[in-house]
């Protein structure tokens, strides 16, 4: 049974339209001088892939949060 986890990744700077479009699989919100990506990810491989996409675009990650903790089994 796959338990999806919700992560929030905070990036430095406000993303432009192009960058936002790059993450159309995430929920993107803007903070003060930051961009927050909220993504529901099935596992560590998905998280690693997302982080790689972010760094590949030269974006700086300033915070990574696990929002929904795993359900107790």
């Amino acid at each position: 049974v796959v338990r999806s986890l919700i992560y929030e990744i905070t990036l430095a700077g406000q993303a432009g339209a192009t960058t936002r479009a790059e993450f159309d699989d995430c929920h993107v919100t803007m903070g003060p001088g930051t961009t927050i990506l909220r993504a529901e990810l099935p596992d560590q491989a998905a998280l690693a892939g997302l982080m790689e996409r972010i760094t590949g675009l030269g974006l700086d990650v300033i915070r990574l949060d696990l929002i929904a903790p795993p359900l107790a089994s």
Partner: protein, 901 residues
């Protein structure tokens, strides 16, 4: 598993000496069979039908199947087990870091597809090695796959290692374009950098994730049984829960359990432990081993691949080989990879290295140093350097390269990247113990086109070399001379180059012959450098002699570039046919045009010269334009000056004397022009002044050029006198050339006859005029030298009306030149700037270019800049024009070189 590490070369792959000195492991066109073979399934592996079914189902329904999970999750085995059951063709590529280079990646794909039975034309596979970045290749590749029925499944194992956007974009493009003919199945530690969500939304993606790969209790029971442990159902379940079904964890646990007195207790402890699983299990596995086995494992964990020999050396223990074999036999996370080599399982190796660093921090550098020595002795230079660098021993790393005379590839931009990359972290400005690190820095500066730092590093190396006896450090001395030679030639410092060539020739005799023989590129460089010095000194016969020796060296030529110089020398002494052959040979590389960076600017200028001498102005213009593009990328003062000379002569032939004079002025400004080139430019300047009606200035220029009393200059002086109406002085200047007869080079004799004809006709001696003109025409026939007549059309035209016989016989030579567009005026060589002077980019264009360099598509650039797609395209067209680029990659590259972005 059979030994599949035997390399083979795909057809027509050999690119000869361009690969000389390429470090082992850099591959070149080498295809390693082990990379394109479905991995064998070890006997401890458990069949897992449910996973095989998931993959088979994915392959049936979706173009893309991804298997993701952490290391040791069993991804590769899952794909290998499925591949064994797949009736259709399966092409397998096990990826590594090197595959981020497009040519390597596409070559492996093609080799794997061929192996699986897919017919792929030789042309296409040749294109993969050359111009894999060009869209045409991808399209043809996709088209070849689209027609596969049944579809071929391409398996890319370890796709997380691919990070190069260009390669991934190409892969995505091929997958989307090949349609029903191609299925892609990949394994990756992280979600691959393909636009997964687009495939997912379209229902074209099958995902097998860590959760699916996790072993269930019954599978775990089977795995444990394979390792000879039988546990109660409760304990199996506890173990599966604790390891979360992680295959590597279960295996480690099974191995620990095999020798454990109380398996039940072990599982209970494990389940209760709060420690990180891997480290705990590796400790357990190691704890079960005798001390000397632990020792060998820790010491050899720093090696990528462990052979018996290397293990003995690095561990300093002769029994290491036996221990290694025993470990592999016991499945203790040591895997044989063929040819008597082993590899630690990734996770196991990582934990071993972690332990080594923590338990024996003092020993790490020593081990790396030993490994470096071993690799060096076995000729694996890049690996040797890597370990020396990990030992923090830059001096050793530099010695490995320099003392082996392996500097060649590092001198060229691009070619020696792998080796050069190992030195990327080298701290500058250190007090090194030897000259070698300075020489590495000099080579890096030269290939990065920083002549100032290169010279400084060379001076530092030379300073150290002066303090040791001359019989020592021969390899460093030779390397220093070779770097200096290359740098001086590039900067146009002929005197410096000549001195460096002397030193290099002398030092080449001091190094061991066997070392030199292993690196023929060094000999080539010296020979090529010497030939270039002779060429630019105007000793054309001597240059041809030296350079021909080099070309005969192995029938080919490296990037040392003397084929082009040879072509230029032949062209300059009027042997146009030979120049064409040499020039074409220098440019053709397996019948395809290499990228601009690799093209030989001297060969292009030689061809331009040939066309010009034959009055084929349009063709000359095309060659010059290409030469200019190459020179913009790899600047070369001397060849640039020669290009200016050809352009000036061309302008003269078009009747644009003023432009010719301007080009000459520009070619001369800002650097100490070597005498021969200065003289050649002076001769053109003299003619240009005369053509503009300023015969005094023409005469003055010819006088200045005639400083060395060479026959060629004397004839030019005679020409200037004749144009100024001073027949007597003209005849006096002409006499030596006419008397020299056959000893004078043919073009000089031709011009002398032509001046004599002009003087004779002017003085009314028509008989002598006719004789001389006829003889000039005869001299011009074999090589079809039309330019001298075209330049003298003002008086030859009227004269020919009275000489119908001559005009008829030599109609071909006397036809008016083909003229379409005016020749470009290449800008010349101002200090460090490339030859091409680009029209400045507008702010808007610069912005577009910046976005393009950030990998944005045209549409994305448009939305980012709030302009229409068409406007972006217009900007792009204008950018291409200004930068003489054919596509965006080239434009970005050039703009970076010119520091426009």
């Amino acid at each position: 598993m059979t030994d599949q590490t035997v390399p083979w070369r795909p057809e027509a792959a050999s690119r000869g000496t361009t690969r000389l000195g390429r470090p082992a492991g850099a591959l070149g066109d080498l295809i390693l069979a082990s990379k394109i073979t479905v991995p064998g399934v070890p006997d401890w592996v458990v069949q897992r039908p449910r996973i095989t079914r998931l993959i088979a189902e994915g392959r049936r329904c979706c173009p893309l199947t991804v298997v993701t999970g952490p290391p040791g999750a069993g991804k590769t085995m899952a794909l290998a087990l499925w591949a064994a059951t797949e009736p259709g063709p399966v092409a397998w590529v096990g990826l590594d870091d090197y595959d981020n280079r497009p040519e390597a990646f596409w070559s492996y794909l093609i080799a794997a597809l061929r192996r699986s039975g897919v017919a792929i034309s030789k042309r296409l596979s040749a294109a993969a090695r050359g111009r894999a970045d060009d869209g045409g290749f991808l399209l043809r590749f996709a088209a070849a796959l689209a027609v596969q029925d049944p579809p071929v499944t391409l398996v890319l194992d370890d796709l997380h290692l691919l990070t190069e956007p260009q390669v991934l974009k190409g892969l995505d493009f091929v997958l989307r374009s090949a349609g029903a003919g191609l299925r892609l199945a990949v394994s990756s530690r992280m979600d691959p950098l393909l636009p997964l969500h687009r495939y997912r939304v379209a229902g074209q993606l099958a995902e097998i994730r860590a959760g699916d790969l996790a072993f269930n209790t019954s599978e775990a029971g089977l795995l444990l049984a394979q390792h000879g442990c039988t546990l109660t159902a409760d304990l199996v379940e506890a173990l599966t829960r604790r390891t979360e079904g992680w295959a590597a964890g279960l295996r480690l646990a099974a191995m620990s359990l095999a020798g454990h007195p109380d398996p039940g207790q072990f599982v209970k402890e494990l389940a209760a432990e709060d420690s990180a699983l891997t480290g705990y299990l590796v400790e357990e596995v190691l704890a079960a081993q005798p001390p000397q086995v632990r020792d060998v494992a820790l010491c050899t964990s720093i090696l990528e691949y462990v052979s018996a020999d290397a293990a003995a050396e690095v561990a300093g223990d002769d029994r290491a080989a036996g221990i290694l074999i025993a470990l592999a036999r016991a499945n203790a996370f040591v895997q044989p990879v063929g040819s008597g080599r082993y590899r630690y399982h990734t996770l196991f190796g990582e934990v071993l290295r972690l332990k080594l660093r923590r338990e024996r921090p003092d020993q790490v550098a020593t081990l790396h140093r030993r490994a470096a020595r071993w690799y060096e002795r076995n000729g694996l230079l890049t690996d040797a350097v890597r370990h020396a660098v990990r030992a923090g021993d830059w001096q050793l790393a530099a010695e490995i390269v320099i003392d082996d005379l392996a500097i060649g590839p590092m001198l060229e931009p691009g070619d020696g990247q792998l080796l050069a990359a190992e030195f990327a972290g080298m701290p500058p400005g250190q007090a090194w113990a030897g000259p070698q690190p300075h020489l590495i820095l000099a080579a890096a500066a030269l290939s990065a086109d920083h002549p100032g730092s290169c010279a400084a590093a060379l001076d530092a190396a030379d300073g150290m070399l002066e303090r040791v006896p001359t019989c020592e450090q021969a390899a460093s001395r030779l390397t220093a001379a070779v770097i200096r030679l290359t740098a001086c030639l590039r900067a146009g410092d002929l005197a410096g180059a000549a001195a460096a060539a002397d030193r290099a020739e002398q030092q080449a005799g001091q190094v061991p012959g066997a070392t030199l023989a292993r690196h023929p590129d060094i000999t080539e460089r010296i020979l090529g450098g010497r030939g270039a010095v002779e060429l630019w000194s105007g000793h054309l016969d001597q240059a041809v002699r030296v350079l021909s020796t080099g070309a005969g060296h192995d029938g080919r030529h490296g990037r040392a570039g003397y084929a082009g110089h040879l072509a230029l020398a032949e062209a300059a002494r009027g042997r146009l046919g030979r120049a064409t052959e040499r020039g074409a040979a220098a440019l053709a590389d397996n019948g395809r045009l290499p990228p601009a960076r690799d093209r030989d600017s001297a060969a292009l200028v030689a061809l331009a010269w040939v066309h010009l001498q034959r009055s084929e102005l349009r063709e000359a213009r095309i060659c010059l334009k290409q030469a200019d593009a190459v020179l913009a990328v790899s600047p070369d003062r001397l060849t640039g000056a020669m290009a200016c000379l050809v352009a000036a002569l061309g302008a003269l032939a078009e009747g644009r004397a003023e432009v010719a004079a301007q080009i000459v002025t520009r070619a001369r400004s800002g650097w100490p022009v070597p005498p021969w080139i200065d003289q050649q430019l002076g001769l053109v300047q003299s003619r240009a002044c005369t053509a503009m009606g300023d015969s005094r200035a023409g005469l003055a220029a010819a006088r200045r050029a005639a400083f060395d009393d060479s026959l060629e200059a004397s004839v030019a002086l005679a020409h200037a006198f004749a144009a100024a109406g001073d027949g007597e002085s003209a005849r006096r200047a002409l006499a030596p050339a006419l008397e020299a007869g056959r000893e004078a080079p043919r073009p000089v004799r031709l011009c002398a006859r032509l001046v004599d004809a002009r003087l004779s006709y002017a003085s009314g001696d028509h008989a002598r005029g006719r004789r001389s003109l006829a003889s000039a025409l005869r001299l011009a026939e074999p090589e079809q030298l039309r330019l001298p007549f075209a330049l003298e059309r003002s008086w030859i035209g009227p004269v020919l009306k009275g000489e119908p016989e001559l005009a008829g016989t030599h109609r071909g030579l006397l036809a008016p030149p083909s003229r379409h567009e005016p020749l470009p005026a290449p800008a010349s060589a101002s200090a460090q700037a490339p030859v091409l002077i680009v029209e400045p980019l507008s702010d808007r264009e610069r912005e577009v270019l910046r976005h393009v360099s950030g990998m944005l598509t045209t549409a994305e650039v448009a939305s980012e800049m709030y302009i229409s797609v068409n406007t972006v395209k217009t900007h792009l067209r204008s950018i291409y024009r200004k930068l003489a680029a054919d596509h965006r990659g080239e434009a970005v590259r050039r703009a970076r070189q010119l520091q426009l972005i």
